[in-house]
């Protein structure tokens, strides 16, 4: 039963990746004008100053002289075999760009998510389980503030206070773990806030369930009820949300990496979209889709462990 569930989910993941690749390809090729022209325009040179032969050789270099369907299948094949082509604006293989920039984003994403989980779960638990009334109220209001703060503003504020005034952390660049602190906080705040909001609500719901009343009647201790029963049941919606939020890490990284001058994938994505650097954009989109798919796959695989009814009750196609 579990094996069939897993293989179904994996097949779905592959289909999603293929669809992401295809949609990106179509969108990028439907855009007006071609990248070589943009490249020349960026250098303040109009196409007419370049001889037709030079233009043709530039186009050939990037495979832009082939029919669209040939480009589609060649690139699809290359992608499957791990060859992402060459960046048009930066003149280096895309794999090299990705391998240079990925570690920085992964480190940032991982620390931001870890921090978000700690903050989110912590705030929600305190809000629900706290016995001091005013603290309870304060903590339950906190998430809405966190969600409504614009991240770039939080980032600039963090820089002003902790980098320029107190000089505790570097404001820019990628200088080891201490460089991760401020951007991670900036990225973690909205994620933690959403997580806390959902978890608070579902914890409250869980505590009102009849089985909690039963457990109380049976004389189970407060902590056993809260952690073993209520929390486990309340975790499902939060886990689903976490999956979505993880997938959105890249979007948040674009802002964090711009504000904190970190050369990660988010930055690269932004630059490449502006330069219409098709091979890079495509690689990043597929990679982001892969991340999203893998995270959700993992979460799908965790569900049955939390709630065995999922494997039996749901048909996977």
């Amino acid at each position: 039963m579990y094996a069939r569930y897993v293989s179904g989910r994996v097949l779905q993941a592959v289909l999603v990746l293929w669809a992401a690749y295809t949609v990106t390809f179509i969108v990028l090729y439907l855009l007006p004008s071609d990248p070589v022209q943009l490249l020349l325009a960026a250098g303040n040179v109009d196409v007419t100053q370049v001889s037709p032969e030079q233009l043709a050789s530039l186009k050939h270099q990037y495979g832009l002289d082939q029919p669209v369907y040939v480009q589609y299948f060649t690139q699809l094949f290359n992608f499957v075999t791990g060859n992402f082509g060459e960046s048009i604006s930066k003149n280096v293989p895309v794999t090299q760009l990705l391998s240079q920039r990925l570690p920085s984003t992964l480190a940032l994403g991982a620390s931001a998510v870890a921090l978000a989980i700690v903050l989110g779960v912590g705030t929600a638990s305190l809000a629900v389980f706290a016995r001091v009334k005013w603290l309870k109220v304060a903590l339950s209001r906190l998430p809405s503030i966190g969600v409504s703060l614009p991240p770039f503003f939080v980032g600039l504020l963090l820089i002003q206070v902790f980098a320029f005034q107190l000089r505790w952390f570097p404001a820019t660049g990628d200088k080891g773990p201490q460089s991760l602190v401020l951007p991670s906080i900036m990225m973690a705040i909205p994620t933690a806030a959403l997580l806390a909001q959902v978890l608070t609500r579902s914890l409250e719901d869980a505590l009102a369930e009849p089985y909690v009343v039963t457990a109380r009647a049976k004389g189970l201790s407060r902590s056993v009820i809260q952690w073993k029963h209520a929390f486990r049941n309340a975790a499902l919606p939060a886990l689903t949300l976490l999956g979505l939020l993880l997938g959105a890490t890249l979007t948040e990284a674009v802002v964090a990496e711009t504000v904190f001058t970190r050369n990660g994938i988010g930055e690269l994505a932004q630059e490449s979209v502006l330069a219409q650097d098709i091979p890079v954009v495509q690689a990043i989109v597929v990679m982001a889709a892969a991340l999203f798919v893998v995270v959700n796959l993992v979460i799908d695989l965790i569900y049955p462990l939390l709630d065995p009814r999922i494997v039996h009750g749901q048909r996977v196609t």
Binding site: L31, P32, S33, Q37, L38, L40, A41, A42, G43, N44, V45, D46, V47, T48, Q49, V50, S51, Q54, L55, L58, S89, K90, N91, V92, Q100, L156, I159, Q160, A163, F164, R167, P170, A171, T172, G173, T258, V259, F260, T261, N263, E267, E271, L274, A275, Q276
Partner: protein
């Protein structure tokens, strides 16, 4: 000696040209670096040592090869690594010796012979000689479209002949009087012959060896660059005071996109120079000055920020009267002081004041709202109930495609509204922009171009040189012929008086014919920590680090 009227005439001509050059000097001098440490008499004794930390805003091209790169920030780095045959005096625009000690040019500017400095080596130990010059120029020409600036700097290039190790001759198929200035640029910097065995891509990524005062240790596109000084350096340009190795041990370059973060890094002492592309805002300057930092400025030579017209078909600007009215309806002094700050220089010509042979055309560019209104009345555009002008039921609308729209664009829109002109700011993506301009689907487009020689106008406005929309759509046949003739005159002679005359005519024509509407000067503004002494701009407003030293 008998009296010779011809000789007297020549003497007058010489005197006249001396006056012209003196006027030019004064003109460019006053808009040059406002607080250049070397010119304001920094008397402290330089001390060696330290690492200069410099932050640019961005590195979008991601290339460091001086021969290929067009990104001006990269060229500031390249200036420290790679030397050129000549240099250009930022105050006078004059070409002065560097790796070439002297040169001669034939009258029609097709042959340039250089005498080379002896004893110069590249950082890998290779000797600099005539063969190295030939290798470099041939290889740069061979880059073709990969060297977007090289294409225009070497226009008409034929060959380079090695005469002997210290003499080299560069030959052109067509006159290129601007080539001498081109030899002072980083684009035509001479790299070690071994460099040219690398692929253009590898060179872009940092495989370059120069003869400069610094060597490039590493370069990661858009992330960082690290330069170390050459201890045995002894051949700076004649414009540099320090004749030996640089005072700085190293230069650390980073890129910080956020203005507030870059400025904060400077005021909190984490970097020494903040070098953005757009002028630092007045408010930020006040903060930086309060922290003791100095603000250095120099107008980027070349084409000012100008709007160019589309006069084709039945577009409103096809009527010369409307073009003249538009010229008068722009209030440039208000633009400069509102968008930038109170004493920001007002644009005086289609070229920046720091460009050699720039003339002061303020009178042709004066704000005259009543004059503009009168011209529009005369052209048959009557004011409608909404304040805009109409003719045969059609509104006087000028369409300007842009990729981003800022306060300046909106200010201009407001200024033109006073005359009844409806300026539509059409914000589009870069891709759409390229397509729209290529298709002539616009009334006005903005442009600029950095190069310290007036010939730079040719690649944007001369129909004989380019089929760019800015040239093709902006002139009728008669104006195009006049413009091409002036450009040809400017490129065919190396005589400064004749070049000055040709380029003066050109600047006037571009304004009066309504080919271009100068909007503002592009000022390079850099903020410098008080620790930094000896800061200097090159003629093209790039960094020159030879004289820089840090207070320890």
């Amino acid at each position: 000696m008998s009296f010779n009227p011809l000789r007297l005439k020549r003497r007058w001509a010489v005197a006249a040209s001396v006056v012209t050059i003196a006027a030019l000097t004064a003109l460019t001098g006053c808009s040059g670096s406002s607080s250049d440490a070397s010119s304001t008499g920094d008397t402290a004794t330089p001390v060696a040592g330290g690492t200069l930390k410099l932050a640019f805003w961005d590195d979008q091209q991601g290339c460091i090869d001086p021969n290929q790169v067009y990104w001006i920030e990269s060229r500031s780095i390249d200036r420290q690594i790679a030397d050129s045959l000549t240099d250009q005096d930022p105050d006078t625009g004059k070409i002065v010796p560097w790796l070439a000690t002297s040169w001669t040019t034939n009258d029609n500017a097709t042959q340039f012979t250089f005498t080379l400095r002896d004893g110069v080596t590249f950082s890998d130990g290779e000797k600099f000689d005539a063969t190295a010059v030939k290798t470099a120029l041939d290889a740069t020409y061979a880059l073709g479209a990969k060297s977007l600036l090289g294409v225009s700097y070497l226009a008409g290039y034929d060959s380079t002949t090695v005469i002997d190790p210290t003499h080299v001759q560069v030959n052109f198929k067509t006159p290129n009087a601007a080539f001498l200035q081109a030899t002072s640029t980083t684009t035509l910097a001479i790299l070690a012959p071994k460099t040219y065995q690398e692929t253009p891509e590898a060179r872009c990524a940092g495989a370059i060896i120069g003869s400069g005062a610094f060597t490039l240790d590493n370069y990661t596109a858009a992330t960082s660059a690290h330069l170390t000084k050459r201890a045995d350096y002894a051949w700076p340009s004649s414009l540099v005071k320090n004749e030996g190795a640089a005072y700085l041990d190293a230069i650390d370059v980073t890129y910080i996109k956020e203005d507030s973060v870059r400025n904060g890094e400077l005021s909190s002492g984490q970097i020494d120079i903040a070098w953005p592309r757009l002028p630092i805002s007045d408010a930020d300057q006040q903060v930086l000055k309060a922290a003791g930092d100095t603000i250095e400025t120099r107008a980027l030579p070349g084409i000012s920020y100008v709007l160019t017209s589309n006069i084709t078909g039945t577009k409103p600007l096809s009527d010369p009267l409307v073009r003249q009215a538009l010229q008068k309806a722009i209030d440039r002094p208000t633009y400069a002081s509102t968008v930038f700050w109170a004493d920001y220089p007002v644009v005086k010509s289609p070229v920046e004041s720091t460009t050699p042979f720039a003339t002061d055309e303020s009178s042709l560019l004066a704000f005259d709202l009543d004059g503009a209104k009168k011209l529009l009345d005369q052209a048959g555009w009557a004011v409608g109930p909404d304040g805009y002008r109409y003719k045969n039921g059609q509104k006087l609308t000028l369409d300007e495609p842009l990729t981003t729209s800022g306060a300046g664009d909106q200010l201009l829109q407001d200024q033109l509204k006073q005359a009844g002109i409806d300026l539509t700011l059409d914000v589009v993506t870069t891709a759409q922009y390229t397509q729209k301009t290529a298709a002539g689907d616009y009334d006005l487009v903005g442009t600029y171009y950095t190069r310290a020689d007036p010939s730079v106008l040719g690649s944007v406005f001369d129909q004989a040189l380019t089929k760019a929309p800015t040239a093709v759509n902006s002139q009728d046949a008669a104006t195009a012929a006049t413009i091409s003739a002036d450009f040809a005159k400017g490129l065919q002679t190396t005589d400064d008086t004749q070049r000055a005359a040709a380029y003066a005519d050109l600047q006037k024509t571009l304004i009066t014919a309504g080919v271009t509407f100068p909007l503002y000067e592009r000022l390079q503004v850099s903020a410098v920590s008080p620790k930094v002494h000896g800061f200097a701009f090159t003629s093209e407003a790039f960094l020159r680090a030879n004289d820089i030293w840090l207070e320890q």
